[in-house]
């Protein structure tokens, strides 16, 4: 009785991680001529998806409670537009704007979290309202494409943090040193902090308890409404951090920015083993979900001949695969 069996959730996580390595390995074999094997290819995936990773971490926390947050895509658009217009038209300082963006995120989350936690409205409806509101506000600020040329922000975006290994010389004979951007550092920090929070804080464990069995959580004396409120605040806050990372990549504000990003975040979480019903999941899984997402689009791009829509189809297939896998495991468990 004292031996610990491997739970099906751990198995799912292992499958996800293996899948990533298989996919990436396949890319290395198929496209080694196009430079897929260089470390920079992997780092680019991180750079391109730093924003998504932050959002996915928040999304995972919300999904653990059995909820969902579909407002994150438009919140990112709002953040980017606010940064762009703030710096370019209103002449505000970059650092101040970044702080303001984070405040917007917290307020956004407070409102949504209050509705879900204390008013007990369906999270889907609440965050759908948030989604429309965010996109609408973005358009109110400006309907133009607003490029950012603020010196501080451009400096931040172009800052390369070089990695002391994996260097190579390209075919022109120039030494290429692999690098990451500041957004990657931020995103990885977020990942580590949320991972530790989920495991080692009362709030983290409460998220699991609420998603596992809300009634029980109440009976065990947990403050369920507060836990939910905090989850949504965390999601919107992380989303705003993600928004800044995202903006550092796109360097502009645009109403149509980050459409469907919420779905990418949900997909990453699900591929990473988070259950939509709540109570099961981990940010490490979501991290690999994001990487798989990024690898697919990089593979499609590297191929060059495939339509970019193929990456959507690949993600769809993967989602199906994981959902079926989850339900098969659930069935096996029931059988026992």
């Amino acid at each position: 009785m004292k031996t610990k069996k491997m739970s099906s959730n751990t198995l799912l996580l292992i499958i996800t991680i293996c899948l990533f390595f298989v996919m990436y390995g396949a890319g290395c074999v198929m496209y080694s001529a196009k430079g897929f094997t260089h470390l920079q290819t992997f780092l680019n995936i991180l750079i391109n998806n730093a924003g998504l990773l932050c959002v996915a971490c928040g999304m995972t926390c919300v999904m653990l409670t059995g909820g969902i947050d579909i407002s994150v895509g438009s919140l990112i658009a709002l953040d980017c537009m606010f940064l762009a217009v703030g710096m370019e038209r209103w002449g505000m300082s970059g650092p101040l704007l970044c702080v303001l963006v984070l405040v917007i995120g917290i307020v956004f989350g407070l409102v949504q979290g209050f509705c879900v936690g204390y008013l007990q409205i369906q999270p889907f409806i609440v965050t759908m309202a948030g989604m429309f509101f965010g996109r609408g506000m973005t358009a109110i600020i400006s309907t133009d494409q607003v490029p950012i040329s603020n010196e501080w922000f451009v400096g931040l975006a172009n800052k390369k943090i070089q990695i002391p290994f994996g260097a190579y010389t390209n075919n022109k004979g120039v030494l290429q040193v692999p690098y990451i951007r500041i957004s990657v550092v931020v995103a990885l920090l977020v990942l580590i902090i949320i991972f530790l929070m989920l495991r080692y804080t009362k709030f983290g464990r409460s998220l699991y308890a609420v998603g596992g069995n809300e009634q029980s959580a109440i009976m065990m004396g947990l403050n369920v409404p507060m836990t939910k409120l905090k989850a949504y605040v965390l999601s919107s806050f992380l989303c705003s951090i993600g928004g800044i990372c995202f903006c550092l990549n796109t360097m502009s504000g645009n109403v149509q920015q980050a459409t469907g990003l919420e779905m990418d975040a949900i997909a990453s979480a699900v591929i990473g083993g988070t259950l939509l019903t709540g109570g099961v999941g981990n940010v490490i899984g979501s991290f690999f979900g994001v990487l798989i997402n990024g690898t697919i689009s990089t593979l499609v791009k590297t191929n060059g001949k495939l339509l970019s829509s193929w990456s959507n189809i690949a993600v769809a297939a993967l989602l199906c695969f994981f959902i079926v896998l989850q339900s098969v495991f659930a069935k096996i468990k029931e059988r026992k």
Binding site: R205, N213, M220, L222, V280, K333
Partner: protein, 506 residues
């Protein structure tokens, strides 16, 4: 307050709209005793407990808890827990997706110096709690990996570890088999010896006599009395609960054993099976016959019935209904063939909580007719009233939501639902679970009456005595396999022998 007393409730009174649920009820619990709270459905047991744990507010009366000055009024279960009153319900109120250790400590986890959860200490402490209670549990494993009985015991362990002085066990044994019940009792006795006062609410009389020291009986919201266990033999207890002399249940069975072998065969199953649950079995049921399925919990009693009914599709074998071979793909086919199934898990599979009593009664009939041929309201009302009357369903009106009814009455509504479809063949899976003895007798009588009208019935129950009274034939199951059939000499001893093993009816 007497030194030995841990809880006193004096003159507790509360009314629900129109009904006096509790009228001047007293209750006293001493340290280190197991105290049964008995009464029929609606006697006020649950209400009394809810007043104590802060779910219901009472209008008059006082509660005193040992160690707390002045009267105690709880506003929530959490409030009650803080004052040392913990409740463990029939449904386990823990989180299956968390480890056992977390379930024991959530909300009060040991912390490290920097305020994070100290997993090491938590696991060590939990393992000690489990080892002390001699429970074979690895605390790092998720709770859902363990059986319901162990989960229940873990819930109790949590309550006890939170320094509870009063432990309320509300029907904790309803979903446990005998072996598991015995384990639970051992735990209860252990806790009693440590000085915990335990309130035990149950419908099983044997269990009361197996484990309790004292009994308080309620009837219709009033106190009948408090008795030491030795002074209240079983018959007197039942009499106290019902307020009348015990209607001798044994008398309801007709004396002459009818011979069904010449009657028309309604169900003729040959080699039916369902992968993973039921091995191939044969079963013949005649018109007007009541067949009992018996076996330990988990031996496949319900599963066998589900296969016949098409809820789990049979993978091998043939089924003849009234002589014709049929292929039942889903329950709707079975219904059209005149079958009905009263499932054992009424919360999950039976009642639709947000519909009224009337709507719940006509549900199956409407499904059978198809959804476009609505039953006229006049007929619906007539039907609902007929079955409310016939089954003596205690409800404020026919439009009351079924979730507001007590468990026994919900069960009757579902029974009414199937009777309304006028089935020839009815499967009753644990129709008397969790309901009081008076209603049980009524349901048993009803089963016999229906059989007398020519309906065939499969009757599944954990109580062998009850089956002996109603069934003319018993099928014995073990590990998903039919291992015997008892048609003659239906006695408890014979049935027990067959269940325990060693062949059929030797």
């Amino acid at each position: 307050m007497d030194n030995n007393v841990v809880l006193t409730m004096r003159g507790i009174t509360m009314t629900f709209p129109g009904v006096k649920a509790l009228d001047n009820v007293d209750f006293t619990l001493r340290k280190g005793e197991i105290h049964a709270l008995m009464g029929e459905n609606g006697a006020g047991k649950s209400t009394l407990i809810k007043c104590l744990t802060g779910i219901n507010a009472f209008e008059a009366g006082e509660i005193h808890v040992d160690g707390i000055n002045g009267p105690v009024v709880n506003h929530s279960t959490l409030d009650a827990q803080k004052k040392g009153i913990s409740t463990v319900y029939q449904e386990v109120n823990l989180c299956g997706n968390l480890s056992v250790a977390e379930n024991l400590f959530i909300g009060r986890e040991p912390r490290t110096k920097i305020g994070t959860i100290d997993w090491k200490t938590m696991i060590k402490k939990s393992q000690k709690i489990m080892d002390d209670l001699e429970m074979p549990v690895n605390v790092t494993q998720n709770l859902e990996e363990y059986s319901l009985a162990l989960q229940q015991m873990i819930a109790i362990a949590r309550a006890v570890d939170m320094d509870c002085k009063v432990l309320i066990l509300d029907e904790p044994t309803s979903s446990l088999d005998d072996n598991e019940v015995e384990k639970l009792f051992r735990l209860m006795r252990q806790l009693r010896d440590k000085g915990v006062g335990i309130v035990f609410v149950t419908h099983f009389l044997e269990q009361v006599y197996a484990v309790c020291d004292r009994i308080t009986v309620l009837r219709n919201g009033t106190l009948v009395g408090e008795y030491p266990i030795a002074e209240l033999p079983r018959v007197k207890l039942v009499a106290a609960m019902m307020g009348k002399d015990f209607d001798d249940l044994a008398a309801i069975k007709t004396e002459e054993q009818a011979d069904f072998s010449k009657a028309e065969v309604i169900i003729d199953a040959k080699g039916l099976s369902h992968k993973g649950t039921i091995k191939p079995f044969d079963l013949t049921i005649h018109k007007g016959e009541v067949v009992g399925l018996t076996g330990l919990l988990g031996s496949g009693r319900s599963e066998l019935a589900r296969v016949i009914y098409g809820a789990d599709r049979n993978q091998t074998g043939t089924l003849k209904v009234a002589g014709k071979e049929v292929n039942i793909k889903s329950p709707i086919d079975a219904m059209n063939l005149g079958m009905g199934l009263l499932p054992d898990d009424r919360k999950e599979e039976g009642i639709i909580g947000d519909l009224s009593v009337r709507e719940n009664i006509i549900l199956a009939m409407q499904a059978k007719r198809g959804m476009f041929r609505l039953i006229p309201m006049k007929d619906q009302i007539a039907l609902a009233d007929k079955y409310i009357e016939m089954l003596q369903i205690k409800t404020a009106s026919r439009e009351t939501l079924i979730k507001q009814l007590s468990g026994g009455n919900q069960q009757k509504v579902i029974l009414g639902r199937w009777l309304a479809t006028d089935p020839d063949f009815l499967i009753l899976d644990e129709p008397t679970r969790g309901i009081d003895i008076g209603t049980k007798t009524e349901i048993q009588k009803l089963v016999l009456k229906l059989a007398g009208e020519g309906k065939s019935i499969i009757f599944i129950s954990s109580e062998i005595e009850e089956m002996l009274r109603t069934c003319s034939k018993m099928e014995v199951l073990r590990d998903g396999q039919k291992v015997g059939e008892i048609t003659e000499n239906l006695t408890q001893e014979n049935v027990m022998k067959a269940i325990a093993g060693g062949g059929s009816n030797e």
